[in-house]
Symmetry: C2
Subunit: 334 residues, 2 copies
């Protein structure tokens, strides 16, 4: 039963303001065929990440997505046909397959994965976002017992895992998120010590209350005003983990950076360090064992938010940028 | 021949805009007398530093200087009378003696120094500014051969030493400064590879020309627009040494920080780290030997800018904030 057509989303234009459904079109093309060194993949899950929107703004750690491109996106799928010696039919692989049902990729750009149940965990806690939380917090944040750790986008895929690892490491963990329901989830289900709804509370006051001794570590997923507010309450020798800045992705790039830079960095000897998870590629193996132990013993609760159907992929990303998701959002394609 | 009166400068009001002579008054008071645990010092040199102005803006790594205070300032002097067991008459000491001829300080807040010729080197290359250049560049910048190092306020006390250490470590060194004469001095006398006059040249263009392969390390003494311009040309895994932000000291605190934070930190995995030299106090001893070797062999040229007379101290600071000085500025009091 060979599929002959391939459905895929094209980004028709680069959004000037907020991303909308009108920026995508679903098209059908012929099934792609692998050349030498390439692999044909049937996509099972597409990862939905804030960074997808940032790619439309220009070159980042990867080339920009341009108008007319098949929308880029990290995905998990099965090898259907391989013309690369490292892969064979039936292998489970991940890579940037884009928003489509079937993709041809160079073998060098794919990772072979060992299957597990549920396979979605390869996209969440054992995937890019879980590893981002792990390496960002432990390698850059270097948390010590009794330190105060603040996390923004705390109910998201990275933040929810980073906060739970912070608790395991003995930190006081304070999450910043965008609804009372998410605040309640963070404190009652995930064990955060406090949570702040930045849409309702005055952030400066709420941070002072939640972090009476100041902030030692800030896991920053949002940038902008929240970064600035946290910076002004960061303590001597504080560490700011620069993981992303979703506040700036869905629109024009921000005209200004946070006040207090570099002044407060000097006065309080603060370190800010940006990273992407691939910087720690050689250590991925070391992370998977502790993560698996923490999941097995319930110390990390894995929250996944699976949207069904390729046709819903644009809506899934737009909703993510509006803060709909709890934990790791992905689209089930097949 | 005992002096009976003590001349000193009081900061009469906190400047709202630029610092001027009208913010100081020279007064005479009785000679101070040490209590138990205190030491009377006859001041020889007062250090003039951009940070002096920052202390008027509020609490930093030290308490703010307030209206009515004797102006604070680091100084070098001789012990005249000691009621502290660690010090005796004739000892050479340094500490925050303030802008005055004679000071009483608690012994715990003084450092005993071994005399040398010229003694002014204890205020420049072997003092706070030389050590700031040394530890900032080597510990935070971690320069590697053939990396490109950019330094702002490059003709100043810290910048001029940091640049020469950068050359010793094999870097391509580019200085940013405020006059063509200083640019010429940096390249012809100090061996910088290039220099940029930020008051005349377009900084973005000039940086691209001077750093065609991008910037690996930025020793930031100024913050503001120059930090922003450098940030946009900083390479993957770049390091920004946050040492000061003189652009923001002489007036209101800046309303905004540099654009590109945290976005560029993430994309290019840049580290920004603030420090003050006292963070490396325990390693001071290790730095003095290489610094002395480099001075002895002419690999570091020590430039000092000595203003004569306590009465000229306000003018010396105001001039420094306007970029008058080459190298380390200090006031000779006695």
């Amino acid at each position: 039963m060979t599929q002959s057509r391939n459905r895929q989303f094209v980004l028709t234009e680069i959004p000037k303001g907020k991303l909308g459904l009108e920026h995508f079109v679903l098209q059908e093309s012929a099934m792609p065929q692998p050349d030498d060194g390439e692999v044909l993949i049937k996509v099972r899950y597409i990862s939905i990440d804030p960074a997808n929107r940032a790619w439309m703004q220009g070159k980042t750690y990867r080339d920009a997505v341009k108008a007319g491109d098949i929308m880029a996106g990290y995905a998990l799928g099965d090898v259907v046909q391989s013309r690369h010696p490292k892969f064979k039919r039936g292998d489970l692989v991940s890579g940037d397959c884009g928003w489509q049902e079937n993709a041809v990729r160079p073998g060098e750009q794919l990772q072979k994965l060992r299957s597990m149940e549920p396979v979605t965990h390869l996209m969440s806690v054992y995937g890019i976002t879980g590893l981002t939380a792990y390496f960002g917090l432990l390698e850059i944040g270097t948390p010590q017992p009794d330190e105060t750790l603040v996390i923004s986008a705390a109910a998201g895929a990275v933040g929810s895992v980073a906060g739970q690892i912070g608790k395991i490491k003995g930190c006081r963990v304070v999450g910043i998120t965008g609804s009372d329901e998410k605040c309640a989830w963070l404190t009652s289900d995930l064990g955060f010590d406090a949570a702040i709804n930045y849409k309702k509370q005055d952030l400066h006051t709420a941070l002072r209350q939640a972090c009476p001794d100041g902030i030692d570590i800030y896991f920053d997923n949002v940038g902008g005003d929240i970064l600035e507010a946290v910076l002004f309450q960061t303590k001597m020798h504080g560490r700011i983990i620069c993981c992303g800045m979703v506040s700036g992705y869905d629109g024009e790039l921000p005209a200004n950076g946070p006040r207090g830079i570099p002044g407060l960095l000097v006065v309080n000897r603060i370190t800010m360090r940006g990273f992407i998870v691939m910087d720690f590629l050689e250590k991925f193996g070391q992370a998977l064992k502790p993560l698996a132990d923490w999941v097995a013993t319930g110390r990390i609760q894995v929250k996944e938010d699976v949207i069904d159907g390729l046709e819903n992929t644009p809506k899934a990303l737009i909703g993510l940028l509006h803060g709909e998701n709890y934990g790791k959002r992905m689209v089930k394609v097949s």
